[in-house]
């Protein structure tokens, strides 16, 4: 069906250039058919040009401003876009908002949802990991329009050769029904590091850091990576809960995961075992983490990590 069927990509709250994950979704759409975009607020000229670059021939925007509440307005608007555009599939971000939007949209359209996609084939079958990476399954939507939420880093974003400006189509935003509103937002101090869920490199610390995340942060910064933590470290209050990787925290699939001072109990392994390369540093040679590490150092993280960070800075000049 490549080249014929529309693959609709949902672009939530565009504010300036497309985000990395949005560019990945558009690139993936281009491998499956003709990309089209649904934007939750009217795009400016620059964004339209960027969407055109990814081959989006049609852009759907709400005919009136969407209500400023969570998930429900996006789902109501998207349901109308799908009715208008009749795409072969809809791709959304795998964020909480993306999954919840897909979930509600699924009920509105009587359509199946597959989350956590790491690959989507031309026949729209979806590859994903389940049970925290213990199994890889291929799933498919059998009813309605496939709604697929795609994990970050599943595809290398690459703008195509599209040049023609997209046709903009206005769509009735629909009736969202009862919804929750954000009444207050407070930004946390910016770390300047990439988002943990999307980062190509994650350096994570556990019990072994004993309250001092300095060496973890130093190595993460040398590699341009994000900082993660085991539950033991977040429960101890050494670092914000949002850094937690594992069963009850975030699941990450970076190209490189460096684990330091984490023993690697199943619950922690669960969050990171789909990383492409795993490096472990731990004092205890019997730590389970060494069973899954591609490269392991039995040693003191307070020696090894700063030495590695210094060496990286030296090599990068």
């Amino acid at each position: 069906m490549a080249g014929t069927a529309k693959i609709l990509v949902f672009i939530d709250s565009p504010d300036g250039p497309l985000h990395k994950v949005q560019r990945e979704l558009l690139t993936l759409a281009g491998t499956l058919g003709e990309p089209a975009a649904a934007v939750s607020s009217p795009p400016d000229e620059a964004l339209l040009a960027e969407l055109a670059g990814y081959g989006a021939a049609t852009v759907y925007q709400p005919a009136a401003q969407l209500e400023d509440s969570l998930v429900a307005p996006n789902a109501a608007f998207l349901a109308n876009v799908v009715r208008e555009a009749a795409p072969a599939a809809v791709l959304l971000e795998n964020s909480y908002e993306g999954k919840e939007t897909a979930a509600r949209l699924g009920i509105k359209l009587s359509s199946g949802v597959v989350t956590d996609a790491i690959a989507v084939a031309p026949d729209l079958s979806v590859t994903k990991s389940v049970l925290a990476g213990a199994y890889t399954v291929v799933a498919k939507v059998t009813t309605g329009t496939p709604l697929i939420t795609v994990k970050a880093n599943s595809i290398e974003a690459a703008a195509g050769t599209g040049t023609g400006m997209p046709v903009v189509v206005e769509v009735d935003p629909g009736e969202p029904g009862p919804a929750a509103r954000v009444t207050e937002r407070s930004a946390k101090p910016a770390s300047g590091r990439p988002d943990l869920g999307e980062a190509r490199v994650v350096v994570a610390g556990g019990r072994g850091v004993n309250g001092d995340f300095g060496p973890i942060e130093e190595l993460a910064d040398a590699l341009g990576g994000a900082v993660g933590a085991s539950r033991a470290a977040t429960d101890a209050g050494w670092i914000d809960h949002s850094a937690q990787v594992g069963q009850t925290g975030k699941t990450v699939s970076p190209q490189l995961y460096i684990s330091a001072g984490i023993s690697g109990a199943i619950q922690q392994k669960a969050g990171m075992q789909t990383a492409q390369v795993i490096v472990a540093v731990n004092k205890d040679a019997d730590s389970p983490v060494f069973e899954i590490a591609d490269f392991g150092v039995v040693g003191d993280l307070f020696q090894v990590l700063p030495q590695a960070a210094g060496e990286i800075r030296k090599r990068k000049g």
Binding site: A75, K99, A103, D116, S125, T136, G144, R181, I292
Partner: protein, 271 residues
């Protein structure tokens, strides 16, 4: 659903019986469904139960007419999740069980949950954990909210109910938000919201007298074809256990392990 003021609260908590995450977990070979032979109450549901109990205790508890109903959908053993909730202090339980339910996806599960909640009459609040620790798709709460026409407040790290309004705080890496909705509403809570209690002896004895209603699909006016594998909107075509990661190179630090680590990263083109 009725408009709540500051009087009695009627809360439904969704509970699920899931494989223990302390052990390796498996999919069954034939049906690609989760092997539930070593199951417990989902750890993440304990936070929802605790949140419900704290809300009703602040309003005089069950004596003042507040209720916390623990609801589960699943095979016979799933009732253990409800029983645990009753031991912790839930006032009653509902267990929807039917052979036709096997293989249900999120759409089927949310359909059954919605029908079960409607059968309870007006409810103020539906509480869930942040995810089941087995399915991990987090679809069910949002689909249930959509089916019941409720506002959803997900991933609440704090929760207050006052004057018919529910307020929650959500945190992510970059920001902290306060979100609000009118009751009735659906709220999912994170593992940061509270410290769940343990069942005590009194609670265990009291639970034996609490009622668990067992309902079949027909009791909810549902057709077997709407749920289970037949009614699912998605299917799993194949499932493969992840190959064990090969044993890598393990070295012991002799003063230069940091340099060797960087050499390794360079050899994998990761710098």
């Amino acid at each position: 659903m009725h408009k709540a003021d500051n009087s009695a609260l009627k809360i439904v908590v969704l509970v699920k019986y899931v494989p223990d995450t302390q052990f390796d977990r498996h999919l069954t070979a034939n049906s690609h469904t989760v092997d539930r032979s070593e199951s417990i109450l989902s750890e993440l549901d304990e936070y929802a139960i605790e949140a419900a109990l704290q809300l009703i205790e602040a309003r005089g508890g069950a004596k003042a007419g507040n209720t916390v109903t623990a609801l589960t959908v699943g095979p016979a053993a799933a009732v253990n999740a409800v029983k645990k909730a009753l031991q912790l202090g839930a006032t009653d339980g509902v267990h929807v069980t039917d052979e036709a339910l096997a293989g249900s996806d999120a759409s089927g599960t949310s359909l059954v949950l919605a029908a079960a909640i409607r059968s309870l009459g007006p409810v103020d609040l539906v509480l869930t954990g942040m995810a089941s620790t087995d399915g991990e798709t987090s679809l069910v709460p949002a689909q249930l909210a959509e089916r019941l026409g409720l506002a959803q407040l997900t991933f609440a790290a704090s929760l207050e109910v006052d004057g018919g309004v529910v307020t929650a705080r959500r945190d992510d890496g970059q920001e902290s938000e306060t979100v609000q909705a009118q009751l009735p509403a659906l709220v999912s809570v994170t593992d940061q919201i509270n410290e769940p209690r343990y069942p005590n002896f009194k609670g265990i004895i009291a639970a034996k007298k609490k009622k668990v209603a067992e309902l079949a699909l027909s009791d909810l006016g549902l057709d077997p074809g709407q749920v289970g594998r037949t009614g699912a909107w998605t299917t799993v075509l194949s499932a493969e256990a992840r190959p064990p990661r090969g044993q890598g190179t393990i070295i012991t630090d002799e003063g230069d392990a940091g340099i060797k680590l960087v050499d390794f990263l360079a050899s994998r083109k990761l710098l």
